[in-house]
């Protein structure tokens, strides 16, 4: 295990990705402490202030410095950005975990049992892929009534197919390996064979898919919120911030641009880590 970490540090994309993610996660975790002002505090007379401007606080204390400016109702962009990281990371991560669990499980059983299970899973995948995702998302969000949980569910729905495909392919090749046959010969039951022998050996590509799908989830959440069908607009998420600044792109560009940069930065980190993982876990790579 320690050898793996050593190689991780040496691999440039993984190093870059890990660094970025560590920074973003730290900000997300420490946001309540780091944040300069209350992200929900509305200051109508401090609306649309450009970055590095000061506003007079209502209570008469020394003016607050808005490093990244304020938005259309006077909220500090930097504070919202920091809190937004919590929402985006949570939503992205939870969606990733849900889709990984569901997709991997389905891939595992369809690859192992074949037959009707495989046929059903294949049909499910085809049905989902044949719908334009956005349409599906809007329909489901309408039906479920919106809210964070609904958005997470939609995001999980968007990405489970990737896991299912990969895990199924891996399962098909692993189940013919010697150690699986040996496990059968020992008398191991199906559950043990699946979860002790097959599944752990499919994890390498799953890790890679997981990082990419988390990036996808973050971007999709931003997109949905931007369109107004995602999270509640008052929630400080990067997507809602993008939506906020939509009408002011030419005048108060910082409202949308800052979250945009934050999204780009985080996704870059996640993708770099994924690329690094792919290099590291590739069995053909020089060890």
């Amino acid at each position: 295990m320690s050898a793996f970490w050593a190689r991780l540090i040496r691999c440039p994309p993984a190093r870059r990705g890990s660094l970025i993610l560590v920074i973003v996660t730290f900000i997300a975790l420490a946001a309540p402490v780091l944040v300069p002002t209350d992200p929900w505090k509305v200051e109508p007379e401090a609306r649309l202030l450009p970055p590095m401007s000061r506003s007079i606080a209502v209570t008469g204390a020394h003016p607050t410095l808005h490093v990244l400016g304020t938005d259309s109702v006077g909220r500090d962009v930097l504070s919202r950005l920091m809190y937004g990281s919590r929402v985006s990371l949570t939503v992205g991560f939870t969606a990733m975990v849900l889709s990984a669990l569901f997709g991997s499980l389905l891939g595992l059983v369809s690859g192992y049992f074949g037959g009707i299970v495989e046929a059903l899973t294949g049909w499910l995948i085809d049905v989902q892929l044949s719908f334009p995702f956005l349409l599906l998302a809007i329909f489901l969000l309408g039906a479920l009534g919106g809210g964070t949980a609904a958005v997470i569910l939609i995001l999980a729905l968007a990405t489970w197919v990737n896991y299912a495909r990969i895990v199924r392919a891996q399962t098909l090749s692993i189940k013919n390996q010697g150690y699986v046959e040996a496990a059968h010969a020992t008398g191991a039951g199906v559950g043990r064979v699946l979860f002790v022998h097959i599944l752990p050996n499919t994890l390498a590509p799953v890790c890679v898919v997981a990082s990419f799908s988390m990036a996808q989830a973050i971007l999709t959440e931003a997109g949905l919120s931007f369109l107004g069908v995602g999270l509640d607009p008052s929630t400080p998420s990067w997507g809602t911030m993008l939506n906020d600044g939509r009408d002011y792109l030419l005048t108060a560009w910082w409202i949308s641009t800052m979250p945009g940069i934050a999204i780009g930065f985080t996704v870059l980190g996640v993708m770099s880590l994924g690329e690094g993982l792919r290099e590291l876990l590739d069995p053909r790579g020089a060890s």
């Binding site: 046929a119 010697g178 046959e181 020992t186």
Partner: protein
């Protein structure tokens, strides 16, 4: 041999490999390949019975069918008197403790993510025979039994050589103290210098643990060293069955003769002076076996009868049976 107990018998054991229909549009089931044809075999307790043959002979299939790793298409298998042909579920699992199999590839037979100790402990865990401290103790005991340091239990398979990995597989197979062990080409993937050590280990363990071996190999030299009786297989049937010494000194089936003849002798003078009489033609495919005796297409002694009648195993000398219309 007659005084010894019978541990395993098969009657008319047949295994057909057929492709499963791949979903409802493909309902047609293609004709299967007969890997084993009506095998009658008796294995005695405490002996080492070797199964030799070339590719397509069915020797691996026979071993797997006898230890119930694959199901029989027809025929029966009896273990110590009870019919095990169609057992399933918990009875099958209980059977696994007593009938074990070790595979050819030491590299593929161990889960790369599990430690060696976990791999060896697997039978104990599956059959709920021990846990915790007792489990660790048994694993350590198993490791020393096969000549490995018990302290290596925490390492992963890739840290070991081929010969060591095979020992780990042996330790895994023996930890539940089975009664019969099938060894499927267990030496073939090992380097030459390691083979004799591993063979010696097999011999040792057999007497230490009172095992019965089903030894599958294509290496006639190794078989000669370790087995008590030898069964020669060709295209899914046993063509000759004899005590080792008798088989090697006076093979009666033409195929056995050709097989023994083809093995190079480690003496250049002898090798240069003899002329190997090649078997004409190619080994037939198991999917399209010749009618009658499967060997007749290549047999130097074939007669008309060989083309139509399948020869049955008949005892020509004490313990020495041959399936041939014109044996030597």
């Amino acid at each position: 041999m007659n005084g010894a107990d019978v541990i395993l018998t098969s009657r008319q054991l047949t295994v057909i490999y057929g492709a499963k229909p791949t979903g409802w549009p493909f309902g047609r089931r293609p004709a299967g390949v007969q890997a084993l044809r009506a095998i009658d075999l008796t294995v005695y307790a405490g002996e080492t019975l070797a199964l030799i043959g070339e590719s397509g002979s069915g020797k691996s299939t026979l071993a797997r069918a006898l230890v119930r790793c694959i199901p029989a298409s027809s025929g029966t298998v009896h273990f110590k008197g009870s019919d095990i042909t169609s057992v399933t579920g918990s009875s099958l699992r209980a059977l696994r403790r007593r009938l074990q199999i070790i595979f050819q590839d030491p590299f593929g037979s161990l889960n790369p993510r599990l430690t060696v100790g976990s791999a060896i402990a697997e039978p104990l865990i599956v059959h709920k025979l021990a846990h915790g401290q007792e489990l660790r103790a048994k694993v350590a005991e198993s490791l020393s039994l096969v000549g490995l340091d018990p302290a290596v239990a925490g390492r992963k398979p890739h840290e070991f050589s081929g010969g060591q990995r095979q020992r780990i597989c042996i330790a895994r197979a023996l930890i539940c103290r089975p009664e019969l062990v099938a060894a499927d080409e267990v030496l073939s993937a090992l380097d030459l210098s390691v083979r004799s050590q591993t063979l010696e280990l097999f011999r040792q363990l057999k007497s230490q643990l009172s095992l019965t071996y089903l030894f599958i190999s294509h290496d006639l030299g190794v078989v000669r060293q370790i087995s008590d009786r030898v069964a020669v297989m060709y295209l899914g049937r046993i063509v000759e069955l004899a005590p080792t010494a008798a088989l090697y000194s006076y093979p009666r089936h033409p195929y056995t003769r050709a097989l023994l003849d083809a093995v190079p002798v480690a003496d250049p003078k002898i090798e240069r002076s003899r002329r190997y009489a090649a078997l004409p033609g190619e080994p037939p495919s198991p999917a399209r076996p010749p009618p009658g005796c499967a060997f007749h297409t290549r047999c130097p002694r074939a007669i008309d009868r060989c083309r139509t009648d399948v020869p049955q195993l008949a005892e020509l000398a004490p313990g020495h049976s041959v399936a041939c219309h014109r044996p030597y």
